[in-house]
Every structure is written in structure tokens, then in C-alpha cells.
């Protein structure tokens, strides 16, 4: 039922898009027709670098995101578990997460040069601070009774952090990572502002210069499809790993 409605929703928007362009209600410069976009997509594929662009962009997003995740998980757990750590880190993080990633582009160029590192760093800046805060909230939301039960069974503070807080928050943390992976993709175009000569974001920026709106659409749709696909895969993994999650015990 869910899938039926989801497919219908996609079909509806596509039909609307097709109708608007077929009836020539809008200048194709603003909204290219599906056929034009499809044609451009085939062209991009044949000339051999759509898959390469998607590949390199996926690599940058994943590398930046995984770096964020690996650093944010222990920090988020510590902040969620220990009040002094929260007091030390939280104001800094709240400050840092309002810093616009795009403003860091010149600095990142200085710090990391024009290689892959700089693109990964932009995505890291865009996701890390948000991720730490959201993960620490997941830990802070672990029900107090679960902690108290462990205490009356003789668990030490460290054991409660690992065996109760982390284990209990894990499904929520996994969901947080899934949502943040989507944000990482939204920073791709910013990341590929930095001296890139390949990638979907770079292609979109270049197409913008030549007003190739159909090409911009291909880039956007491919990013959307990759996001939709990875999201579904992560949801499936979540269901397999945490069959009890979403059910109160």
C-alpha cells in the first residue's frame, strides 16, 4: 500500500511536469521538457562521464560523511552521557553549526589545497557539528528507567554508557546518520565549488554558466535518485539490525 501511494506520488509529479512543458506553459529555459532532460541524460552517459561524475561525487560525499560520523559518534555519546562534557562542548558546537560551510571555501582552499581533501573537508564542515548535536540528543533521550535498572543490577558508570546508553540509542543514532547522509549530498555543490573539474555538483555549476537547464535537471535528478536509493538501503539495514526498534518494551 505504501509503495503504491509512493509510486503514484512520483507519477503524479512527473505527469504534471510533462503536462506543463508539453502545453508550453513555461519557457523551456526555466523548465526543460522531460524528453529534453532524458535526451541530455543519454548524451551525458554516452560521452562517458555521467557515471564517472556520479562516482566521484558519491566518493566525496561518503568520505566526508564517514569522517564526520566516525568523529561524531564517540563525541556525541560522551556529550549525551556526561554533563560536564556537554557543558564543555555544547556552546562551541551550537556556535560552529551556524557557520555557513560555503563561507569556508576560501579557507579550505588555503588549508587543504585543491585536491580531494578540500572537497571532503567542506562536506565534513557541513555535517559534523549538526551530527554531534543530534547524536548526543539521541543518547540523552535514553529512558531513565533503563539506566536505573542497570544501576540496581550493579553496572558501573562506564558499563551503563556502553551497555545501556549506546545500545539503547543505537537505532535512533542510525536513523540520525541516515538523515544526515542526505544533508551531506546537499553540500556537494558547495564542495565542488572548490577547484573541482569533475562530479555532479561541478557539472551543475558548469551547466549553469551555459544556461543548460536540461543538464542541471539531469544532475539534480541523479543526485535525488542516488539519495533515494541509499536511503532505502539504509532503512532496510535498520530493519534488519534493529527489529525491536519502534516497538516499546
Amino acid at each position: 500500500m505504501y509503495w503504491l501511494i509512493a509510486t503514484a506520488s512520483f507519477a503524479l509529479w512527473f505527469a504534471l511536469w510533462w503536462a506543463v512543458t508539453a502545453l508550453q506553459l513555461v519557457d523551456p529555459l526555466f523548465l526543460p521538457a522531460p524528453a529534453a532532460v532524458l535526451h541530455r541524460c543519454g548524451d551525458w552517459l554516452r560521452n562517458g562521464n555521467l557515471l564517472e561524475d556520479a562516482g566521484i561525487s558519491s566518493y566525496r560525499v561518503l568520505a566526508g560523511f564517514l569522517l564526520s560520523a566516525v568523529m561524531a559518534l564517540p563525541l556525541g555519546l560522551a556529550i549525551g552521557a556526561y554533563q560536564p562534557v556537554r557543558a564543555f562542548c555544547e556552546p562551541l558546537l551550537e556556535f560552529a553549526r551556524y557557520l555557513p560551510a560555503v563561507a569556508f571555501v576560501p579557507m579550505v582552499l588555503l588549508w587543504a589545497g585543491i585536491g580531494e581533501t578540500s572537497k571532503i573537508m567542506v562536506i565534513w564542515i557541513g555535517t559534523f557539528f549538526q551530527l554531534v548535536i543530534m547524536l548526543s540528543e539521541d543518547v540523552a533521550r535514553v529512558p531513565m528507567p533503563q539506566i536505573e535498572a542497570a544501576r540496581t543490577l550493579g553496572a558501573s558508570g562506564g558499563e551503563i554508557v556502553i551497555r545501556v546508553l549506546l545500545r539503547s540509542a543505537l537505532p535512533a543514532m542510525f536513523d540520525t546518520l541516515r538523515i544526515t547522509l542526505g544533508w551531506a549530498w546537499t553540500y556537494l555543490v558547495v564542495a565542488e565549488l572548490v577547484a573541482a573539474n569533475s562530479g555532479l555538483g561541478y557539472a551543475i555549476l558548469k551547466a549553469q554558466r551555459f544556461l543548460q537547464t536540461d543538464r542541471i535537471f539531469v544532475g539534480i535528478i541523479v543526485i535525488g535518485l542516488i539519495g533515494l536509493g541509499s536511503d532505502q538501503v539504509l532503512r532496510w539495514i535498520h530493519r534488519r539490525l534493529f527489529p525491536w526498534a519502534g516497538v516499546r518494551s
Partner: protein, 278 residues
């Protein structure tokens, strides 16, 4: 008989934005080893607070709690607690929940290899005793409330606690399941020789299970009266007992004490005034 638990001049004051109130004031009693004591009282009498202080989850404002003559500093597994909402770990199976303490340092430290093996065997025995063998690999969310509470009781018993603290453990169960759990807990108490402090608002339950019933009065929480239950020993009690004259008479006496201390009569006069006006 030796005193397992000593509660002396215990008081607890909660300070909130609305002001301070005394949840407990000057509560003293002792529980001897192997005794089953039930604490009953009107809502707000501080019976759960009392249990949480004994568990070490709350600090008293005054007075002290001694277990085997040693003061209670904080929670530990010698005072395992069974909660109304079970508080099982949803990510662990039934068997893993029961064996939770086996992974803890406090268990591993004082247990040599023989003791560890003993605990392994004991966890299997508890699974059997609680009738959980069939669902050992299920997760809590797949179980009924009664089954979940069996898991929680087995989990608390595995560490052979000096005191088993039970905070309205059957309050969320339906009447039939409660009766089954009553007989189960009586058998467990008799077989395991545990000292049990059992908090409930259900007087029938308290009289059926306990050797002694402590009635707390609210505002501030204090001991109103203590009742020795002279009924047959645990293993000879059964549901028919609840219809006997001795049972009903002591149940009635305790209920009237609770009614006398709950301050609910004033509601009736207020209601009469209200209806008189209308």
C-alpha cells in the same frame, strides 16, 4: 533472626519550584532475613520513594538505611529491583536480559570460575523456574506483560540479591495474570529464601503475599500501622485463601486504615455541599 534491612528515622524532602514537600518523615522499621514485607498506602504516601531510597536510587534527606548493618551508599546488585514497567532491554533476548549481570565487572570480579559456572547454571534454572524456556530467544516486545515481568524477576534474582525490591510489579497486569504471578512469586520467595520488600496499592495482593504489611499514611509519608499476617506459609497458600474469614477480616482492617488516612472523606462532604447548592 537477624535484621537484613534496617530503616531508621528516614525522611525525604523534595524541593520543587512550587515549594518543598515532605514525601517521608521519620520512617523506621526492620526486615528480618527471609521475610516478605509488603508496603501499602494511599497514593502519595511515599511508598515508592521509600523503596527507591532503599535501592539507592534516591538519597534520603535524613535518617539512614542499613543492609546487613552496612549503610546504603548507592544502588548495587545486592538490592536488585523489579519495576512496574519491567525496564527490560529491548535489544536483548529473554536469555540475554536474564544474564545481563554476567557481563558486568562487579560480577566477574568477585566470581571465580566455579562461581561463574554456577551463575550459568542458575540462569538456566531461572529460565525454567519462571516458565521462560520456550521463549528464551524471543525479544521483550514479542512477549505479554506477564512474561516480561517474569524475565525482569529472573534478571533480578540471578545475582542472588540480599534484598529483592519490587515496586508495584504487577500493577500493569490483568487480574488473571496477576493471580498466576502471585503464586509464582510465593513459590520463588519460598524456594529462593530471599528477603523481599514489595510495594503495592493493592491490599489483597499485599495480604496474600506478605508475612508482614506496613501501612504508610500520606502527608508527610509515615508509618501508620504494621500488620503481621498469620496465614498458612507461602507454599500452602492458594487462591481459595482469599475467600477465608481470616483473610477477609485482615484485608478489611488494613483497607479501613488506608481509607482513614487517605483524607478522601472530605471529598464526600464537598460533594454534598455542591449538590445541596444545585
Amino acid at each position: 533472626m537477624t535484621d537484613k534491612l534496617t530503616v531508621r528515622a528516614l525522611s525525604k524532602r523534595f524541593v520543587t519550584e512550587a515549594g518543598a514537600y515532605d514525601a517521608l518523615s521519620g520512617v523506621s522499621f526492620t526486615v528480618t532475613a527471609g521475610e516478605f514485607v509488603a508496603v501499602v498506602g494511599a497514593s502519595g504516601c511515599g511508598k515508592s520513594t521509600l523503596l527507591r531510597i532503599v535501592a539507592g536510587l534516591e538519597r534520603p534527606s535524613g535518617g539512614e538505611v542499613l543492609v546487613d548493618e552496612r549503610p546504603v551508599e548507592g544502588p548495587d546488585r545486592d538490592r536488585a529491583m523489579v519495576f512496574q514497567d519491567y525496564n527490560l532491554y529491548p535489544w536483548l533476548t529473554v536469555r540475554e536480559n536474564i544474564r545481563f549481570i554476567l557481563g558486568l565487572r562487579s560480577t566477574r570480579r568477585d566470581a571465580d570460575r566455579a562461581a561463574a559456572r554456577g551463575a550459568e547454571e542458575r540462569s538456566e534454572l531461572l529460565l525454567e523456574l519462571m516458565g521462560l524456556t520456550r521463549v528464551r530467544d524471543a525479544r521483550p516486545h514479542e512477549l505479554s506483560g506477564g512474561m516480561r515481568q517474569r524475565v525482569a524477576i529472573a534478571r533480578a534474582l540471578l545475582g542472588k540479591p540480599d534484598l529483592l525490591l519490587m515496586d508495584e510489579p504487577f500493577g500493569a497486569l490483568d487480574a488473571q495474570t496477576r493471580e498466576v504471578m502471585h503464586d509464582l512469586i510465593l513459590h520463588v520467595a519460598a524456594l529462593e529464601q530471599r528477603t523481599i520488600v514489595f510495594v503495592t496499592h493493592d491490599v489483597e495482593e499485599a495480604v496474600y503475599l506478605a508475612d508482614r504489611v506496613i501501612v504508610l499514611a500520606p502527608g508527610p509519608g509515615r508509618i501508620d500501622s504494621v500488620w503481621r499476617i498469620d496465614l498458612p506459609p507461602a507454599l500452602e497458600r492458594n487462591q481459595n485463601l482469599k475467600l477465608s474469614h481470616a483473610f477477609l477480616s485482615i484485608e478489611g482492617d488494613i483497607l479501613s486504615r488506608i481509607r482513614a488516612t487517605s483524607g478522601l472523606q472530605s471529598d464526600l462532604t464537598a460533594l454534598q455541599r455542591l449538590t445541596a447548592k444545585a
